[in-house]
């Protein structure tokens, strides 16, 4: 299989964009957290934390 010709600049730009999107996700997640009962958000968080790697 032929490996595509890559542009490091393009990859750097994608990486930057992904990071910015994750930061925006944190903002919306925190807003959700603030209006969600602890019992509910912590139940959902537990599924992520307890998942074995």
């Amino acid at each position: 299989m032929k490996f595509p010709k890559i542009s490091i600049e393009e990859l750097e730009e994608s990486k930057k964009k992904n990071f910015e999107e994750r930061l925006k996700f944190i903002d919306s997640y925190v807003e959700w957290l603030k209006k969600t009962p602890n019992k509910e958000w912590s139940k959902q968080q537990k599924k992520i934390v307890n998942r074995k790697k």
Binding site: R22, V30, K34, P37, N38, W41, Q45, K46, V49, R51
Partner: protein, 205 residues
């Protein structure tokens, strides 16, 4: 400053943060280790990523970082005995754990017996900030269990200083969650001292 009830069902006070939640594996490990160490009278504080996870950050971690006060060999052995329901991942020998790891500033890791992750990384302070955190630790009461955590303002500033994407995301989570409750003057001071203004302004604020 009086305790205030925050939208996220927690009380954020100058001395402590009180919260109820469904405990996950990291919470349980942290509470159990902290209670065991505390019973020996040894000062301990939890720092780094777990502080964000405690308050809802949506990620896992393989470890929880504890800083404890520097100990004599005798006192270290007392702490070791208090953690007998856990397994030390570095060595089975307590004398070696002290001599080859703890006394040299290398973390001693403990996990639930038979498990490798998650684990608690226990070490003595290795710089002025870690010494400061131990002295100025903040109490967190989680489901009526007491642990000690790094002050949120320092935690945010230090993560801004570290600067990896994960660190900046952890810091942003804490900042966005607690911004109405934080001592912003103190936060700005820490950020300045750590020369982390650029990361703070670009990615956290």
């Amino acid at each position: 400053m009086k305790n205030k009830t925050c939208k996220v069902e927690l009380e954020y006070g100058k001395e402590s943060i009180v919260m109820e939640k469904e405990l996950n594996e990291l919470d349980e490990l942290t509470i159990n280790i902290s209670e065991a160490i505390e019973k020996t009278g040894v000062k301990n504080v939890v720092v780094s990523g777990y502080v964000s996870i405690l308050f809802g950050r949506s990620r896992a971690s393989e470890d929880v970082d504890f800083i404890i006060e520097p100990l004599t060999k005798e006192k270290f052995l007392e702490v070791w005995n208090s953690l007998k329901e856990f397994e030390c991942l570095n060595t089975e020998k307590k004398e070696e754990a002290y001599k080859e790891y703890f006394s040299k500033g290398i973390a001693v890791r403990f996990s639930k017996k038979g498990e490798y992750i998650p684990n608690a990384e226990i070490k003595k302070p290795k710089n002025k900030i870690e010494e400061w955190v131990l002295i100025n630790r903040k109490k967190a009461i989680i489901n009526n269990k007491k642990i000690f955590i790094s002050p949120i303002e320092l935690q945010i500033a230090y993560k801004a200083f570290l600067g990896s994407e994960k660190d900046l995301e952890d810091a942003r989570h804490l900042y966005k969650l607690f911004k109405e409750k934080l001592d912003l003057k103190k936060l700005k001071k820490f950020v300045g001292e750590l020369k982390a203004e650029k990361n703070f302004e670009r990615h956290i604020q």
